[in-house]
Symmetry: C2
Subunit: 205 residues, 2 copies
Amino acid sequence: MAKKRGYHHGNLRQALIEAALQLIEEKGPTGFTLSEAAKTAGVTPAAVYRHFAGREDLIAEAARQGFEMFADLMQFAYDKGQPSALAAFEATGRAYLAFARKNPGHYIAMFESGISLNRTPELAAAAARARSVLEQAAADLSQRIPPEKRPPASMFSAHIWALSHGVVELYARNTGTASPFPPEDLLETGIGIYLRGLGLIAPDE
Amino acid sequence: MAKKRGYHHGNLRQALIEAALQLIEEKGPTGFTLSEAAKTAGVTPAAVYRHFAGREDLIAEAARQGFEMFADLMQFAYDKGQPSALAAFEATGRAYLAFARKNPGHYIAMFESGISLNRTPELAAAAARARSVLEQAAADLSQRIPPEKRPPASMFSAHIWALSHGVVELYARNTGTASPFPPEDLLETGIGIYLRGLGLIAPDE
DNA sequence: TGTACATCAGTGAACGCGCGTTCACTGATGTAC
DNA sequence: TGTACATCAGTGAACGCGCGTTCACTGATGTAC
């Protein structure tokens, strides 16, 4: 708790972002309104305009912070898995799901809010950094595949990203599709089979 | 064009669904409004209530029709690929992406509108049928794997569904993430590698 | 240390808007005789 | 074939609501002297 009550809020900008994240998580990107975020932060709707150009800008900033956290987390997981390229790669997969689970508001703002990643240069940069961490992990691991059978690292990482995102969207949210398996298991086994397909894990492992 | 103009519309129910699909496609699930769907169909908003309980019901019906079409399409692709289990399986993968591409309104209503699949028994049944087609294809193909290494068919199909859905969401929509590869290629190569991981395709194929 | 003043974060009232939904109604259609 | 009537799909006006945004303002804060 920073200093709060009083005419001046102290740190309204961040408080608004956090209110937005909470509301997005609770009601989906549709349900989020600028007015309610302001009310949650204990402030008049008009006050929001001291810090953001409008509703969309607020979402974009939430998404940007999400990508920054996401990239940091993936980078950390990747580093921790070193020097084993395989361990590092699998750690990023687990980190992906963990991030989506722990920060649903951010995840939704990033991927489900319908916001363009090119809305601001800062947002685009954060998203690009996140992508590059995954691509780096894929590229490292690719080294072990004979060049002539090696898929481009960007394709490799796109496969993994798509699988991870699909698991999150279909099985880690309460859409009524009861997951037949825990999402974590689903992702881990899926990645395992995929890596075996690339010859990166022995067939009988 | 069925008989239209006049006090009675003729087939307002379906016209409303089609208007809804078009609007959902254009503006996302957020942008869709009952009033605008009514206007698009050339009718007063109040008229909608002769056919639907409300806004959500209209979306649910659009989603239901989507799942029916989807299940039919997958079944058709699967049958066409027979008697080769592998060909049948790969055909359903391609059919998945083709459906998402050709019927974005349906796809969004089905997977992105935030509607619960258990909202009505009809919707749940349609969704279950779609799932069962994919699971059947996976089960057939699994027969070729030695039982002790065979993953449950429901897991197998969940992997494929998640990968397909992820490719659609991340790379087949204009979110600003320019796809590094055509989504079709991405999905086909991804499924190929996965199947190789299961030992269903020879390593050098 | 105390006072005057500039800054600017947040107020509160107001706006126009389109939303989903309701209601008593109207008039086109189809059927019974 | 023509008339009376029941049905019910669609009308149009109205509602209360919360939205995003604007505006002139106010009063807390921090700085210069």
